[in-house]
Symmetry: C2
Subunit: 103 residues, 2 copies
């Protein structure tokens, strides 16, 4: 699968000493997305806009806002994180993801 | 800096257990590039087409084909790797790069 007529920011977004990195793209319709990689580790992220996270490869255990348990999401799965909230992730393997921002 | 009217492959290229990852893009003029991240480690890569490597962030020590010593390339630097050859890299920090293929 490819995005056509996209605008791609050349420089990467780098978090957690490079264990989480992504590239920002803007699709033909103007939607902002990031295409990213997470290496094994435990992470907490905060959202601004609502996010749709699609798992493109690997898997991640996710604790969504208001939840107390982690659920495993695998390649082909997706989940939504509400705006202005925090969520936790535990990665046991490398994972490839696409995050779409609802702005 | 951004690439406009580009095509980007959604799924990442993953090497060395995710310590080296990249996304493939095709620029408006049809040139193939990869935008990638290397985590600390020692790597050897082989080329098919000639590659122009630009360092977008961080730094890497590179031993080019035919050389016996490593040279440090930093943000803003670039180097060319001939087609059908091998080169070695030592990364002490995370590095962000853009690789352009001369096809």
């Amino acid at each position: 699968m490819e995005f056509k007529n996209a605008r791609i920011v050349k420089k990467a977004n780098v978090y957690f000493d490079g264990k989480v990195t992504s590239r920002t793209i803007y699709t033909e319709s103007g939607e902002r997305k990031t295409l990213g990689i997470m290496l094994p580790g435990d992470y907490e992220f905060g959202t601004g806009a609502e996010e749709l996270m699609e798992i493109l490869g690997g898997e991640m255990d996710v604790c969504l806002p208001g939840e107390t348990t982690f659920k495993t999401y695998r390649e082909g799965d997706s989940f939504i994180v509400p705006a202005n909230s925090k969520f936790k992730l535990i990665l046991k393997t490398v994972a490839d993801y696409c995050c779409s921002y609802k702005e």
